[in-house]
């Protein structure tokens, strides 16, 4: 099956985008990314720690011939901050891809979609390839698409909550109208969540905590790789219709009497 995921002009075989935060060690991160089969990894932009020069940087661990970097604007609470971080990210990574994230509230980490729209308009104008994290609101998604975002990335559930797809109806409606890729971002907790998201028809799934926070992150990365593949194939294979009850799987004729 030749089923590739096209994002911002590139083709990817993997439909799993993985974050690089929260691993116990860099080595564990490297191993988990490898196990996940991902080809796109998110990174954050932060001040260089001037006090600590010994530590190796993230770049020493990421094989850039293998992974597309997707810098985020995590931690920003206004469009202005997010635009500033996006510009720094472009300079630091040499790529104009950005996962736009404008947070509305530090306790829930829900996105501020009003500010996200403002930042998206600005960043698209500045030539960024914008992948916005947003709430699962079909109208916000349509506006982000109209602004020129390269994909829309509605949340499944709050960041780090592990609650899975809280509102599949909204994801379905978003899919019905979207012409850009739809990537479920945040909220996945276990493999079946990722499979289910793919079965709804989304183009890819983005996660970090679900892998990095598992008891065994590398094994969970393998699980998620298989889950995204399973969900994608299940979507393409066309499932049986749901019935209240039954349909025999063994033939009725030929029973002994």
């Amino acid at each position: 099956m030749n089923d590739t995921f096209r994002l911002a002009g590139r083709e990817y075989r993997s439909r799993l985008i993985v974050g690089t935060g929260k691993y116990a060690t860099m080595e564990q991160m490297v191993e988990a990314l490898d196990a996940s089969g991902t080809e796109i990894v998110t990174v954050a932009i932060r001040r260089v720690n001037l006090a600590d020069r010994s530590r190796k940087s993230l770049l020493d661990y990421l094989d850039l011939s293998r992974y597309t970097l997707l810098p985020n604007t995590a931690g920003c609470y206004t469009a202005e901050e997010a635009v500033r971080v996006a510009r720094l990210a472009r300079e630091a990574t040499g790529s104009s891809l950005v996962k736009l994230e404008v947070i509305g509230d530090q306790r829930t980490l829900f996105p501020d979609n009003e500010q996200t729209l403002v930042a998206a308009r600005q960043l698209v104008q500045e030539g960024f390839t914008v992948l916005p994290y947003c709430i699962d609101d079909p109208i916000v998604c349509r506006k982000l698409e109209e602004i020129g975002c390269a994909a829309v990335m509605p949340l499944a559930a709050p960041i780090g909550s592990g609650l899975g797809i809280r509102n599949p109806h909204n994801i379905r409606i978003i899919l019905e109208f979207a012409k850009v890729p739809v990537i479920v971002d945040a909220g996945v907790g276990q493999a079946s969540d990722a499979a289910y998201a793919m079965e709804l028809g989304v183009d890819a799934v983005l996660m970090n905590t679900a892998i990095a926070g598992a008891k065994e992150p590398v094994l969970m990365a393998e699980a998620m790789k298989a889950a995204v593949e399973a969900g994608r194939k299940s979507f393409l294979a066309g499932r049986i219709p749901r019935k209240l009850y039954a349909q025999a799987s063994s033939p009725i004729e030929g029973m002994i009497e």
């Binding site: 935060g21 990174v43 932009i45 932060r46 001037l50 500033r84 990210a89 300079e91 630091a92 960041i159």
Partner: protein, 68 residues
């Protein structure tokens, strides 16, 4: 002549005159791995050597770290 700037939010004093490139060198930071902002404007990597620092400048030096 000593220059005092704000570097990543903290006061920082260095001998002037100095450029952003010189600052990074002194910090032992390879420009390839970071992005530099001077008074909230990006200074592209190829302009670091020609960008002088002035008293009171606000400099941010950032890089990628793990994130989701």
């Amino acid at each position: 002549m000593a220059l005092t700037i704000t570097l990543n939010g903290e006061p920082y004093t260095l001998e002037g005159p100095a450029t952003l490139a010189a600052l990074l060198e002194r910090l032992e930071i390879h420009p390839q791995t970071v992005a530099v902002e001077l008074n909230q404007d990006i200074v592209r990597r190829d302009r670091l050597a020609e960008t002088p620092l002035a008293e009171g400048d606000r400099v941010e030096v950032v890089r990628m770290i793990g994130g989701g």
